[in-house]
């Protein structure tokens, strides 16, 4: 008996050829796993086993596809341009729909997937923050050099970065009376100037799902956020083999929710062996 094989006592009463010994039936067992048709002279027990394995991988029961709507909804949500711009950030509600388990029973979502997307999200958020900070800094310096800052601040700017000194008597020499619509508002204590970033944010589309953060610049400017859902050129997908033919054969009736891919099933196993054979 070879070391990796089971002992005869472990499998009593199995009338496979080669018992006790175990090696002789292995090619036939491999044929079962390979979804190949057994030779006619194979033991009837193996034919029975093949039928049972075929039942094991039998056509889908409609109840087995009950989660399809939730999965498709989540997919559609993430495939939308807004969903793509945020990735897993907007996953919360859909994830809860997909799982019936209470939140405190759900395991950590950190395992196996999502890490690259999370890292991308963090990098994106950091980049956006840095960009906003740079814009504010540049704006402040420009305002200082045009003398548009309030007197005390302009004085500080004059000292620190050699900006023009504040003109005596006028706190905002660049602002002319009657021009409130275009330039800076009048610096009364009750009318604060609206920051440019708020104006920019209000021009971006608003979204209704919970947990959504304000739209990021990438959502409106990035090449992957065009009119279509996803741009193929943005996908670094390596897809060497093209098994779509066999797959389409297994899923022939997409518009109807008939779950059974039975038509493309070849004995002994309907579901997977088609792919294996192909």
């Amino acid at each position: 008996m070879s070391p990796p094989d089971a002992s005869p006592s472990e499998m009593p009463g199995i009338p496979f050829p080669g018992r006790p010994g175990g090696e002789h039936d292995e090619p036939l067992l491999d044929m079962l796993f390979g979804a190949r048709v057994l030779p006619p002279d194979a033991p009837p027990e193996l034919h029975d086993l093949a039928r049972m394995l075929a039942a094991l991988a039998g056509p889908a029961d409609p109840s087995e596809l009950a989660g399809e709507a939730a999965a498709v909804a989540e997919f559609s949500h993430l495939a939308s341009p807004a969903g793509l711009s945020l990735g897993p950030v907007s996953l919360g509600p859909a994830r809860h729909r997909l799982s019936r388990r209470p939140a405190h029973h759900r395991p950590s979502q950190r395992r196996a997937t999502g890490r690259p997307a999370s890292r991308r999200r963090v990098r994106r958020t950091t980049a956006v923050k840095a960009m906003l900070g740079a814009v504010v800094m540049v704006g402040a310096v420009a305002a200082a050099y045009t003398g548009a800052l309030p007197g005390p601040i302009q004085k500080v700017a004059h000292i620190t970065i050699n900006a023009p000194a504040p003109q005596p008597g006028t706190r905002h020499p660049a602002v002319k009376p009657g021009h409130h619509g275009h330039a800076r508002p009048t610096p009364t204590p009750h009318s604060q100037p609206s920051p440019p970033k708020r104006a920019a944010a209000s021009s971006t589309p608003q979204h209704s799902w919970p947990g959504r953060t304000p739209a990021l610049p990438r959502a409106s400017a990035g090449p992957s956020c065009g009119p279509g859902p996803w741009q193929p050129q943005d996908l670094p997908v390596h897809y060497p083999s093209a098994p779509s033919g066999s797959v389409e054969a297994r899923c022939p009736a997409l518009p109807t929710p008939t779950p059974s891919p039975k038509a493309a099933v070849s004995p002994p196993w309907p579901a997977k062996p088609a792919t294996k054979a192909a």
Binding site: P4, A6, E10, M11, F16, G22, D25, E26, L29, E45, D48, L49, M52, A55, L56, A57, G58, P59, D61, E64, L65, E68, A71, V72, F75, A79, G87, P88, L91, R95, L98, S99, R100, R101, H105, P107, Q109, R111, A112, T113, G114, P116, A117, G228, P229, W230, L235, H238, Y239, P243, S244, V247, E248, R250, C251, L254, P259, A271, T275, K276
Partner: protein, 180 residues
């Protein structure tokens, strides 16, 4: 189909789901009592990562079942109890006495469902490692190397274990009278 789903094609994703979900659910039913929940969590993890996935359909299946196995383990830890097999061993089996419903098509569907449940029940009687490997090889259609990656064994060990499982399964099938 996989490439279409990665591009955002919803039809392709539906096809992908229908192709994989039955196998995923049956596999999970053998290894966890929370099969439906774990399947949902698996898809919740797969969908966001689908776009960045690289590989063919075989690799996708291996990836998905790896996630499912991790989620099932997490669920088992969170509930802190041994996974029970939700399949009723006393389920009617596919024999001559299985009954004869009125409509032929309905009868065929029912018999297939009964046969599937009976086969699942028999697999559930196997030792856990053998049951899992049988499900990954037969239902998920993964090769020994992929199964070995998932369960943490070598391809040779997977092959030996799967042979043992088949022999046990044949014996159990004869005892239960599932076949013929």
């Amino acid at each position: 189909m996989l490439a279409g789903a990665q591009r955002g094609d919803e039809t392709a994703f539906v096809c992908l789901f229908r192709d994989v979900q039955p196998a995923l659910l049956r596999y999970l039913r053998v290894i966890t009592p929370d099969a439906e929940d774990v399947a949902g969590e698996t898809w919740a993890a797969v969908v966001p990562g689908l776009r960045g996935f690289r590989g063919d359909e075989e690799a996708f299946r291996a990836w998905l079942f790896t996630i499912a196995r991790h989620r099932a383990a997490d669920a088992g830890r969170s509930r802190n109890r041994r996974p029970a097999i939700p399949v009723d061993p006393g389920e009617p089996v596919l024999t001559e006495a299985a009954g004869r419903p009125a409509a032929p098509d309905a009868a065929e569907v029912a018999l297939e469902a009964i046969a599937t449940r009976a086969a699942l029940a028999l697999v559930a009687e196997l030792p856990p490692d053998q049951a899992e490997i049988i499900m990954l090889r037969v239902v998920a259609g993964l090769d020994p190397a992929d199964v070995g990656q998932i369960v943490g064994k070598s391809a040779g060990a997977v092959r030996v274990t799967s042979h043992r499982a088949l022999r046990r399964l044949a014996e159990a099938a004869q005892r239960a009278g599932v076949t013929r």
